[in-house]
Symmetry: C2
Subunit: 134 residues, 2 copies
């Protein structure tokens, strides 16, 4: 079986926060909203239901762990979770902290406007805060 390789667009758009048991936890470089992506380190998977049952359970556990931590550390109104993959086919799960004053509330983040990169210090501080909340 081929080894897992992170999709090039995911690599370019995000930064590794932590390797969890199954997933790479990555921060999207978009300061409009605290936006994490979990990428199961399994080759050739596009749909959640194409994972083994054990990996599906692991993904649920890691997604919910991260969602709860992000809600708390970002003091979010709502967490949005989604697996779309229409453009980047490698399975990845978005976990996003939403606030009532964010740029597209209450609409979705997907397909809205363009990414706005963090400054380096700002990104490091957020990553540290997220790691401490896990």
């Amino acid at each position: 079986m081929a080894a897992f390789e992170l999709n090039e667009k995911l690599r370019a758009d995000s930064t590794l926060v932590e390797n969890l048991g199954l997933c790479q936890l990555r921060l999207m470089d978009d300061k409009r909203w605290p936006w994490l992506v979990l990428v199961p380190q399994r080759p050739g998977i596009e749909e959640i239901f194409d994972l083994t049952p054990l990996d599906q359970a692991m993904l649920t556990f890691e997604t919910n762990l991260v969602g709860q931590a992000l809600k708390k550390c970002a003091n979010a109104t709502k967490v949005n979770v989604g697996a779309l993959g229409n453009i980047v086919r490698q399975l990845h799960v978005h976990v996003v902290a939403r606030h009532e004053n964010d740029p597209n509330w209450p609409g979705p983040i997907w397909g809205y406007g363009s990414r706005e990169a963090y400054g380096a210090a700002e990104k490091q501080a957020l990553m540290k805060k997220i790691l401490e909340s896990l």
Copy 2:
């Protein structure tokens, strides 16, 4: 503890397909894309991580069962799964069959245009097909 009551907007916008173990499986009345919603029958829950661990596992199982069935029966290019809840706060998980010629491919379905209702016969036929795929 209060009993589960389905949110009024979810009730108005969708039709019950089947009661699964945890969730109501409902078809959104929008013929632009085959669009199912799973609603865990638990009162007062807004986030997936607010469910008990057992209910989280059940939701994963039911979501993936439904996603796999929908992909097959709709002959979809990709299944999109999401739990947003910025407007309707009662926890509900969207499972949507996407095709490369659908109205907003490869963009998201959320926040795009307006629902287009099925005709009665068309809706019944799709619900029957989905039920047979489960």
